[in-house]
Amino acid sequence: MTAPFPTRKQEEWRYADLDALQPVWEQFAEPERIAVLPGQSLEQVWLPSDDAVQVRRVNVSLGVGASFRMFALNTAEQYGRIELEVDLAEGAQFDFFAANIGTGLSTNEIVSNVRHLEPNGRSRQVVRSVLNGKAVGSYLGKIEVARGAQKTDAEQSVKAMLLDRGATANAKPELEIFADDVKCAHGATVGELDPMQLFYLESRGLAPPDARALLLEGFITGLWDSAKDGDAICEAAREALKRVVE
């Protein structure tokens, strides 16, 4: 049986492009499951496809001392959604590095719910959005720290760069903490390209689109540095930024 079609009244679908989702819902209704066994580690790199609508819904469960590192580029032409439910057992580690790079009328969003169920877990989420035209880029990230999940260290860093007045960035880090000895850092900023930086680059001979692309590369820099095999996603992000500055 297919799960009921979401509505915008549900917080996690608040900014979604439900019209774009409708025709493909059946194939995504059931999230994919990933289990990382105790003590094991896993790394995944999610590259965008050419589809106008791209949805990935994943439930991840991390066993005791397991670690999962994930790198994702969300840059669908119409609607891109990355949805993560992550459960961490004792001492598990979860790292998530992602970019929303959107142009035109696209909506790209990342929705995560990271649950620290046991002590000593560590999670880190770093999301950068670059948006032009009337594109929408969102990050809705919830962190739950269960009673007893002491010494949890959870971090969320969310930054967005808007290139046009019509572009929209939504950032909503959310914390639900039931333990009293935890670290949960979160930060969100929204900005635009600095005119003085642009002029500096242009004064050295870079044409305006190249100057913007270089600044944006600097803005998302570091996202893929820790990937064992980050070349493809780095190159894909560079291509996506080129489309954004044109």
Binding site: P195, M196, Q197, F199, Y200, L201, E202, S203, R204, G205, L206, A207, P208, D210, A211, L214, L215, E217, G218, F219, I220, T221, G222
Partner: protein
């Protein structure tokens, strides 16, 4: 080479330049001195095309081309270089990448072949060494965490790599200690003191002019050049102050 005629410019609607005329022929170094607020930096920005600096009257040409009609990156490709008074920090972008892309972009505009990675690194290393800067610094993000003196030295390394025809140096000497001042002065001489090149040196003080001897000195006051003379004028200004010298 650089010809400025009756140039008027405003910033945010405020008139700052009120009829600057200036002619720097190839092979010469001209110094522009003047008190704070006289329009020195504005002149540098107008000539290099900073957005928001509007020319309301007059003209500026470079090698016979209308400078004002060109975009900043076109002015750079034509051979103009601005040494910034406050070099800008660009987090996340390494100096090497920034300079290699800048140089190759200029070369493409001029129809020249791009420099390979290896050739570029070699050039960058030799130019850094010539200014006395550790080439390892070029691996770091542009100007981030650089001291004031390091930023100014890095501007000179950029100038050495780009090898422009004409440099406008906006208070490149401010914030430098004696050693850095000597290094910067020597850099200006070795990179720019050549036939076919020119320099407009904007400064408050005489001391840089001990190392880079100007052919002419101009005094800018209230957006206008009020006096011009030889190198001795700089000494007179240093002794008597701007108010006296301009009177």
């Amino acid at each position: 080479m650089l010809r400025v005629e009756n140039l008027h410019a405003t910033v945010a609607g405020e008139p700052i330049l009120n009829g600057v005329s200036l002619d720097v022929p190839a092979g010469e170094v001209h110094a522009i001195m003047g008190p704070n607020g006289s329009g020195k930096s504005t002149l540098a920005y107008v000539l290099s095309g900073r957005p928001g600096y509007a020319v309301t009257k007059g003209s500026a040409s470079f090698d016979g081309r209308d400078l004002i009609a060109m975009e900043p990156f076109e002015r750079a490709a034509a051979g103009l270089f601005l040494g910034f008074q406050y070099p800008v920090e660009i987090p996340g972008v390494s100096y090497l990448q920034f300079l290699r892309e800048s140089l190759n972009s200029q070369r493409r505009s001029r129809g020249e072949a791009e420099l390979s990675g290896a050739d570029f690194i070699k050039l960058a290393r030799s130019q850094a060494a010539a200014i006395g800067m550790d080439a390892e610094m070029l691996k770091r993000p542009v100007n981030v965490g650089f001291s004031g003196g390091e930023k100014k030295r890095a501007e000179m390394v950029q100038m050495g790599i780009i090898d422009p025809k004409f440099a406008i140096l906006d208070e490149t000497d401010s914030g430098l200690d004696i050693d850095a001042l000597k290094a910067v002065g020597a850099g200006i001489n070795s990179i720019m003191r050549k036939p076919g090149k020119g320099v407009l040196l904007i400064t408050h003080y005489q001391r840089l002019l001990d190392y880079v001897r100007p052919d002419k000195v101009h005094v800018l006051q209230a957006g206008r050049i009020v006096r011009s003379g030889g190198p001795e004028l700089a000494h007179e200004l240093e002794r008597e102050g701007y108010a006296e010298a301009a009177a």
